[in-house]
Symmetry: C2
């Protein structure tokens, strides 16, 4: 038998980094539909936000120095000269000893540099008694304090969250340049694989699980799936269907039958799609060892194991990396990780990185990760899991009670 | 001035729990478009998965007891009677001393109860030398071992993830009953608020940030936004526009001007929309104190502060709770939280729950949360943050180095 020339997880990540260039295909879309999309340019503000000095409280605009020394027993007196209307310009100037009413969000009149909160004053006709001193800038957001003219608000490669769209709205940007959705091709192979909608299975048949779960994972990452269906374990059919799909996509995923024959087919197919071809022939990982990755004329092609759990784990690790890399995405590495204590000893093998599915539980005010054991072909193993933990290639295992990083499933 | 009758965060959560019933409007959709949607029924398998005993390796199917005692130096001999084809039924039975080749995922022939891995055998013509003993069930997934006929695979109220769709595909379910998308109305109020697409702001004007960021947050949670636009601080217009929107939605959000006058309008409007009306008149929280929540004939109505940061924090805390509750969603409380050490002392006030925006950073192999300070009107404060930490009402603050829970922004 042919032995796989397996590589370590970290090596594979480094190689992927070197193999693929980002794709710079850009479109402009409305911010209303931009959640989850990736910014294609730095976004620079063309104005100050706010565009005027703005009160953060309901109160009276004054010159701060006129309030110095004010206390409950020794108030300072001001003359009220009017009140500011929301959303309107103010054409009065505050002079020494004068005050104007300003609602929260209202514009500060010229001459004023602070606002005394309404809780700290007493109004007697046109007269204002102030019981607390304020410092200059107190209770005011100054012009440009949120965003200044010329400031980079968001960087290229940022995946847009709801609040980021708010930030864009604030600077008057309602259309954003984003990378066009990655087209990801997905082809399932295996004589035993039948479409999920097959009602009655014949003996030996299995429904195409990866065609659904990997497609959904691609979509959740913002990709567009082009599903090539299921091909039999016949080299010619496998190759021609792969070539057809390869032409249409930015990234091709082959969800392989994991029997030996099919594995050989997959690397042969990849090498015919383009050069330099296969550069990862197996990974020192559990589950997912027989994973193959190729660079076919600059385009990534990934051969995932047929087992649904292996396929999902490997997609989360490297499919995700490839998709992010093609779009310059600088993913926040913490966004999907948390710390928990492992509830059981788990043995592992030095020289191999293990990923163990876990279910999370709060016990004694601490977060515990309970391993979900089961053979790697079990899809319920994934359905029951909240995430997975990594046991490094340098460890012989982990001890119950040890703190571990949990990578959450999306 | 009118003092707010503020309530504690926990109290508010409890009250919301009691006030609103879930909405049981259901539709059937394809699993291909079901990521993020919420299951409306328990999903029960009508068959065993796999439907047959299945090998998890490439190897030889045997009776396990025939291998007992096999070692490298003392192999056991078997007679090879054929090989199993993928996806096909097997019409041979394994007798004592017999073996059949089975590829990974292939069907186990009758009479066999284990598979010897190909690495542990040597083939000499029709003769098989086995160098390792196997136990019964070794390297086999038995019929129904993944899912048994009648098993509940996923529960009502579960938000579907990619791997869950794989689980459904495995049991032959390609259409799922999900709750219809929640219709969430959003109305912005304030004389100073203008549409985000306004190119040149007049003095005193501010673009409608919440109309974008809260809408995006609703959509990210699977809701459908019905945007009512911007109304001025005039009671009649505010009321009639609110009534119109209220009729069309399952949940109404009023993003209020936060000046005192507007706040009063909001609770008056809510009380006219239906009874019993407002039950939360302010929350002992920072930011976001002037938040108002009403039950109008069973329908939730929430008045968010106009400040974008306050609005977002309050939506994440209570808008999210309301949306989940309307769909029976049993959210995994850990899915958006992680542990980090706070990098600075932060003072807080006993009797009030504070939420502080933080940026995450790895330092000395540990995760640190750096507070993002800034006045609550600053949208960049949110754009720069990865999440927020909670300082409980019982604490006077937190000390640099302390471990805290970080609630990640989506």
């Amino acid at each position: 038998m042919e032995l796989l020339d397996v590589q370590q997880v970290q090596e594979v990540a480094e190689k992927i980094k070197k193999q693929f260039q980002a794709i710079d295909s850009v479109e402009e879309i409305s911010i209303i539909e931009a959640v989850g999309r990736v910014l294609a340019h730095d976004m620079v503000s063309k104005e100050d936000v706010p565009g005027f000095h703005r009160s953060t409280v309901d109160g009276y605009a004054v010159k701060a120095r006129n309030t110095y020394g004010s206390t409950e027993s020794m108030p300072t007196f001001f003359h009220i000269t009017g009140s500011v209307e929301m959303g309107k310009d103010v054409n009065q100037t505050i002079q020494e000893g004068q005050a104007m009413y300003v609602p929260t969000g209202g514009m500060l009149p010229e001459g004023a540099d602070a606002v005394v909160m309404i809780e700290d004053v007493e109004v007697v006709g046109d007269l204002l008694n102030v019981f607390e001193q304020v410092a200059p800038r107190e209770n005011v957001i100054f012009k440009g304090e949120d965003v200044y003219d010329g400031e980079v608000v968001l960087k290229k490669g940022h995946r847009l969250r709801p609040q980021d769209l708010g930030g864009l709205a604030a600077i008057g940007v309602t259309k954003v340049p984003v990378y066009t959705k990655l087209k990801v091709g997905l082809l399932s192979t295996g004589d035993e694989i039948v479409p999920p909608e097959t009602e009655e299975l014949l003996p030996g048949q299995i429904r195409d699980i990866n065609g659904i779960s990997i497609a959904a994972a691609v979509q959740a990452l913002g990709g567009q799936i082009i599903y090539g269906g299921i091909v039999k374990d016949q080299f010619d059919q496998y190759l021609s269907k792969s070539q057809e799909l390869f032409q249409q996509v930015d990234f091709l995923i082959l969800s392989g039958g994991s029997s030996m024959g099919t594995k050989d087919y997959t690397s042969q197919v990849m090498n015919q799609l383009g050069s330099p071809g296969v550069f990862v022939h197996g990974i020192s990982i559990k589950p997912g060892k027989p994973t193959i990755i190729a660079n076919c004329n600059g385009k990534p092609v990934m051969g995932l194991p047929g087992h649904p759990v292996s396929a999902m784990v490997l997609f989360e690790l490297f499919g995700r990396q490839i998709m992010n890399q093609l779009h310059h995405v600088n993913e926040n590495p913490f966004a999907k990780q948390l710390r928990a204590r492992i509830s059981r000893n788990i043995a592992s093998q030095v020289g191999r990185t293990d990923y163990v599915r876990v279910q999370l539980e709060i016990r004694d005010h601490e977060l515990w990760a309970n391993p979900v054991f089961g053979k790697s072909g079990l899809i319920t193993n994934l359905v029951k899991s909240d995430g997975m933990i990594e046991i490094s290639q340098y460890k012989e295992g982990i001890i119950a009670g040890e703190w571990v990083n949990v990578i959450l499933f999306s």
